[in-house]
């Protein structure tokens, strides 16, 4: 479903989305909270019908604070948490005429890439319920793919928008770090977290970006860079565009269907006048992506989530004294996978380890970003397959183990988080009925260029607006 498919009747739109969401819940398990939209509908009706998202029901990842609406981040410890304020992006959505219709499932606190680790249970892939949606923004990806919503918000710390977008066959977009305010977004790792969106077409992603982007004084890392008219300026002309194919990724992928699909795409882009060249980065450097990411992300996370202690809000487990209350609440409130990440993060910050783990990871991050910038200085975008396989089954995927086979191919999109560069996954076809996605990354604040190339890819694949019916 595309934004343009929705009419201006807010009630009808909300009714339609909520009924489809309810109907899909058994199959997808993508929703944490169905929102009572009555008050929001009243507010929208007072607004100008020409607003870009007038009457659009939106699915929102459950780590984005919604005033008066339970926001759990799919963690037990926040199961009863109702924010007293709206995240900046929610205020932006509402001002543009949108309605928050559902809160969607995610890997607990954003920690994971499978959506298997959500307090409400795993989310299933709309194309094959036996397979994973990917994560951590799995619920938002699945609902967009199933045509339940035209727009869903997600967050992306490693590849948490772009990977599930690939597995579910939708557009998944995270703009430059600082382009969209993070105020009110329950963090995973502050220096890597991005807000972004899922849509069924590139144009809708452009519309959404224009609504969500802009400086917010409550987020000191948000940018003063002027916001573009991305949808209006969308231009799929590729003549003279320089696209680098990340050889390290493509050379390590063994899935024939994915390789074939990718090569065909490259030929089509060339036919449109683009210059497509293979570029190889230092392999050893790229092998550090995952450990560098994990060390930085989890160090920041263990501090970020120290506020979740069951004392002021959230689920409290009683204890004899304050320390026991905190220990009990945190032990029971988090899954073991999350607690493991806290331990890892804490470990890398200890005085005796900090220099050789956390500080070193930060230094390597700088080296990686410099190398990546070096590639991008000669190209408009870097292109690679978003994943090394189509959506796996739960038992074939594991967030806890590092995969030697796909150390680089499965984790390269972290480059977009370490650098903060804008990055988008675009559907590129199917293999045995399962979606294949490609990922494009551009220079900082070069969102327009990125969306333009994505639009050209979409025109070649013919997958604009593609969704799958799950209620058949």
């Amino acid at each position: 479903m595309k934004l343009n498919d929705l009419g201006k009747n807010v009630e009808a739109n909300v009714e339609c989305v909520l009924s489809k969401a309810h109907a899909s819940q058994d199959k997808l398990n993508a929703v944490v909270t169905f929102v009572d939209c009555e008050k929001q509908i009243e507010e929208v009706k007072k607004l100008d019908q020409n607003l870009p998202l007038y009457g659009v029901p939106v699915a929102v990842k459950d780590n984005i604070s919604t005033k008066g609406i339970r926001t759990t981040a799919s963690s037990r410890i926040l199961d009863n948490y109702v924010p007293v304020f709206d995240a900046h992006v929610i205020a932006k959505l509402k001002a543009a005429g949108a309605v928050v219709a559902v809160k969607t499932s995610m890997d607990e606190l954003g920690m994971g890439g499978t959506n298997l680790n959500a307090y409400t249970g795993k989310v299933n892939n709309p194309y094959d319920f036996e397979r994973i949606s990917g994560g951590s923004s799995g619920g938002s990806a699945a609902l967009t793919a199933a045509g339940v919503v035209a727009l869903a918000l997600g967050t992306d710390t490693g590849d948490s928008i772009r990977k599930p977008a690939a597995y579910c066959g939708v557009v998944g977009f995270k703009p430059t770090y600082g382009r969209i305010s993070r105020y009110g977004v329950i963090p995973y790792a502050s220096s890597l977290d991005h807000v972004g969106c899922f849509t069924s077409c590139v144009k809708d992603a452009a519309v959404a970006l224009e609504v969500l982007a802009g400086r917010d004084d409550r987020d000191m890392t948000s940018s003063y860079e002027p916001v573009g008219h991305y949808a209006e300026a969308l231009n799929s002309d590729l003549k003279g565009k320089r696209i680098a194919v990340l050889a390290n990724v493509m050379d390590s992928i063994k899935d024939e269907a994915i390789l074939k699909n990718f090569d065909a795409l490259c030929e089509k882009l060339k036919a449109r006048g683009a210059i497509v060249e293979k570029v190889k980065m230092n392999d050893e450097l790229l092998e550090t992506l995952l450990p560098v990411y994990l060390i930085i992300a989890n160090a920041e996370a263990c501090a970020n989530h120290s506020n979740l202690d069951g004392v002021r809000f959230g689920m409290r487990e009683e204890g004899a004294d304050l320390e026991e209350i905190m220990i009990n609440s945190r032990t029971k409130g988090f899954s073991s996978a999350v607690r493991k990440r806290f331990v890892l993060g804490s470990w890398s910050l200890f005085v005796e380890n900090q220099e050789k783990l956390f500080r070193k990871a930060q230094k390597v991050r700088r080296v990686i970003v410099d190398a990546y910038a070096d590639v991008l200085k000669d190209y408009d975008a870097v292109l690679a397959s978003a994943a090394s396989t189509t959506a796996p089954k739960p038992d074939e995927s594991n967030d806890e183990k590092m995969s030697d086979t796909y150390l680089v191919a499965e984790n390269h999109m972290v480059l977009g988080n370490l650098s903060g560069y804008p990055s988008i996954t675009v559907p590129c076809g199917f293999a045995e009925g399962l979606p294949i996605g490609v990922n494009l990354t551009a220079k900082a604040f070069d969102e327009q260029n990125l969306l333009n190339i994505a639009k050209a890819i979409e025109e070649e694949t013919g997958l604009e607006g593609k969704t799958v019916e799950v209620n058949a």
């Binding site: 780590n63 984005i64 604070s65 926001t71 981040a73 926040l78 948490y81 924010p83 007293v84 304020f85 995240a87 993070r182 105020y183 009110g184 977004v185 329950i186 963090p187 790792a189 502050s190 220096s191 004084d217 409550r218 987020d219 000191m220 890392t221 160090a299 920041e300 263990c302 501090a303 989530h305 120290s306 506020n307 979740l308 202690d309 004392v311 002021r312 809000f313 304050l322 320390e323 905190m326 804490s346 910050l349 200890f350 005085v351 900090q354 956390f358």
Partner: protein
């Protein structure tokens, strides 16, 4: 004394801002519990810090007053620990890059001036306040996120007296520069003292103890002196001092152990990712420094060098900022510096103390006092009359209006006085004879007659002088 005392002092000082260090939550002392908080102060998920630039300005003032080198690149770090008074589970502070370093203050000691070096001044946020009651611990989050500077001295202090002098000097400086209201008893300025002893001539340091939360200058001195006694007694008896945190018990006037320090806690400091390093504009720093209020020393110098006041008067006036602020207002309207100082430091202070009136409630207008002083100088009213006028001025009244209403206008017109003198001499010819015969009391008699005739308004000094001149002429 058998040992040399080594003292270093850490001061936490709340900055005088309207809002918190990293949020728009209001800063108000004494507000109802938990009414000055927002989602940021309570550490709600998803909230982010936003730096209060006014707090940075005040920190720059503090650094300038303490002669510190200012780092124009502002960076913050997280200090991680779990406690109920710390909503986020970490405190945002400046561990690695304090805004100020390598400063000093000069204190007066019996042996003369002494420099106390300041290691660092850094910005951070305050914690919530806890109240331990029989029914459990209550937490007031109003204080959570209040801007602080922490000021850490080098171990240059050698006695309780020096410690108190240092804290007083620091307090005056911060107060004069408008950095903080520095109310130790309300906790807006908190003082922790580290003390160790060592034999004279020994270069190393002994085991130190830390006395926390001293809430007055006199307690700083008492606690330090007491702790010196305690530690030297232990050493003299062959014992060892244990590294620990102690508190000063006012009732028993002793220091009491709070907790042993078993190794250092690892706070896992790391750079705050939500605040990028901020490069301050050098011109902005300069403009803050150029517009600093005077510190007490500068005021004292001005009073002595420009106005010719005595050291005693200058010290008295600058003892509190309010008093010298008032004096400065008065002397905007009169050049009678010494007289103005006398009226401000004696009559006004005595009146305020007697009536229990604070400086904020003081109704005396500086320009009224200046006007009255000029009336005295011009001889329009007598010193005696001035005291009556002053009482009325303390109610906010204008001295000219008071003098007028009470008919106090002193007669200082020489021709008018001369007319009264001539009349008095003519009515009492005997007095001329008495005067010629060397009887001085004739002068007093005639002055009395003139005063009587003028209903007490004749300028006594002028009258006295003119009577003598007239008598000599006869």
């Amino acid at each position: 004394m058998n040992f040399e005392t080594i003292i270093g002092i850490e001061i936490h000082c709340e900055l005088k801002t309207n809002t918190k260090m990293f949020s728009a939550g209001p800063v108000r002392f004494g507000a109802a519990p938990n009414t000055c908080t927002n989602e940021i102060d309570l550490g709600m998920p998803g909230t982010l810090p936003c730096l209060n630039m006014h707090a940075v300005e005040l920190a720059i003032r503090a650094c300038s007053g303490a002669h510190c080198t200012i780092d124009p690149l502002i960076k913050f770090d997280r200090k991680n620990y779990y406690y109920s008074d710390l909503p986020k589970g970490f405190q945002i502070t400046q561990q690695f890059h304090p805004i100020g370093s390598n400063g000093y203050l000069t204190i007066d000691t019996e042996a003369g001036k002494k420099k106390i070096r300041i290691n660092r001044i850094h910005m951070e946020e305050d914690t919530a306040k806890q109240f331990h009651t029989a029914n459990g611990t209550m937490i007031d989050f109003n204080r959570a996120g209040t801007p602080l500077v922490e000021i850490v001295s080098e171990p240059d202090i050698r006695s309780g007296k020096e410690a108190a002098a240092y804290v007083e000097q620091l307090r005056n400086m911060l107060y004069y520069l408008g950095v903080s209201d520095c109310k130790m008893e309300e906790g807006s300025m908190r003082c922790d003292v580290n003390i160790s002893l060592r034999p004279y001539g020994y270069d190393g340091y002994g085991t130190k103890t830390e006395i926390k939360n001293l809430n007055s200058l006199s307690n700083v001195q008492k606690a330090v002196d007491e702790e010196i006694q305690r530690q030297s007694k232990i050493y003299l008896e062959g014992g060892t001092v244990i590294q620990e945190t102690r508190r000063f018990d006012e009732a028993s006037k002793t220091t009491i152990s709070m907790r042993k320090k078993e190794g250092n806690v690892d706070y896992k400091f790391f750079p705050e990712p939500n605040i990028f390093p901020i490069q301050l504009d050098e011109a902005w720093i300069k403009s803050i420094q150029e517009n600093l209020n005077e510190v007490p020393e500068q005021r004292k110098e001005r009073y002595m060098n420009q106005y010719g006041l005595s050291d005693y008067d200058a010290v008295t006036l600058t003892a509190t900022k309010e008093l010298s602020d008032f004096y400065d207002e008065v002397i905007k309207h009169t050049n009678e510096y010494k007289l103005a100082s006398n009226w401000v430091t004696t009559e006004m202070v005595a009146y305020l103390n007697k009536e229990g009136i604070s400086y904020e409630e003081n109704k005396l207008q500086p320009e009224h006092l200046a006007a009255m002083i000029d009336m005295i100088i011009k001889g329009e009213i007598s010193g005696k009359q001035a005291k009556v006028v002053f009482e009325e001025m303390m109610q906010g009244k204008d001295p000219k209006v008071v003098a007028e209403a009470k008919g106090m206008k002193q007669m200082s017109d020489p021709s008018a006085i001369l007319a009264l003198i001539t009349a008095a001499i003519e009515a009492n010819p005997q007095s001329v004879t008495d005067f010629k015969n060397g009887k001085d009391k004739a002068v007093g008699f005639l002055v009395g007659q003139v005063m009587k005739a003028s209903k007490g308004t004749a300028n006594p000094a002028m009258t006295n002088k003119m009577v003598q001149e007239e008598l000599k002429k006869r």
